[in-house]
Symmetry: C2
């Protein structure tokens, strides 16, 4: 069975060094020096903090969009993509109270979330982890992990600026942006 | 914060007595005599078996459907609805690989899952619990708990027969149907 659960832990030494960490909305996380990414749930995650999320079926992507994503999205772990971003977010109760078609309308018709993401492929590799239904008291609803090459740093910033300026982001009430660089 | 996580445990004595238990697809569960329903996750659930699920946002229901459901669906726990059904199901990998619009198409355009459910309101009270994203190895994807009055037993059977005859059910590879009667 393929692994769906992943844990991100702030550690003293690890494969990804934190280069920048900013809380954009809601409570910050303690400043990390390094982050370790593990498949599964460590028995006792030791570290400054530990976040976990699970990959799942798509909640909004339609058939043609899925085909375009599958055709263009690169894999994680390619050495040339030595920059990463770990961005946990939480959405408001108002978001979760919307019906499926209302959420899709905000996410794509109003905010072009999927189309915007497609424009940054294959430069940016990405894995989305869901947290909200792991338990009833998770600190974030989603954790996204991105990987990109150092020369695409400005491109990646533009991707985030576009998403953060969209109507969807009015429903984001906690967001932390952690940038990392692969060691070695 | 309202409670979203619920645990169903097969116990020797409890508030709901099992009157019938049938495995319709996939591995059965050990025959229970009584079932206990608890909010949250007990530290060490003792019992023949224990299933947990979490209530979450709707995945398919659209705005008008949500309004109709909210207007008509009764609450759990009303004494007159002294019959219950606990029905855990699991769906196939093929289901989870479908895009959102493909799943909605099967669930509602082809199978009329939401419209069928609405026709049985307000007779049948219902709470849907999601399991699939609690961890990567849950035995079921969903647990639904239903409550209805004894005189609506035949009505409830017709509801299930309609759903099980629908194209959506081709994607169900494990299903156990447990019927219960409230004690006292």
């Amino acid at each position: 069975m393929s692994t769906r659960l992943f844990t991100f832990t702030a550690v003293a030494q690890g494969p990804w060094e934190v280069t920048d960490q900013t809380a954009l909305a809601g409570p910050p996380l303690a400043r990390a020096s390094h982050v370790q990414l593990q498949a599964g749930a460590p028995a006792a995650p030791a570290g400054l903090w530990s976040l976990r999320g699970i990959t799942s079926n798509e909640r909004y992507v339609e058939r043609d969009e899925k085909a375009a994503l599958v055709a263009q999205q690169p894999s994680l772990g390619e050495p040339a993509r030595s920059c990463a971003a770990l961005i946990p977010i939480r959405k408001t109760a108002a978001w979760w109270a919307l019906s499926q078609d209302q959420r899709r309308h905000v996410l794509e018709d109003q905010s072009r979330h999927i189309r915007t993401g497609l424009r940054y492929l294959p430069a940016v590799a990405r894995r989305l982890h869901h947290c909200r239904d792991l338990s009833e008291n998770e600190p974030f609803d989603f954790i996204t992990w991105f990987e990109y090459a150092p020369q695409d740093n400005g491109l990646f910033d533009r991707l985030l600026a576009e998403l953060r300026a969209s109507p969807e982001w009015a429903y984001v009430d906690r967001e932390v942006d952690i940038r990392l660089s692969r060691i070695g």
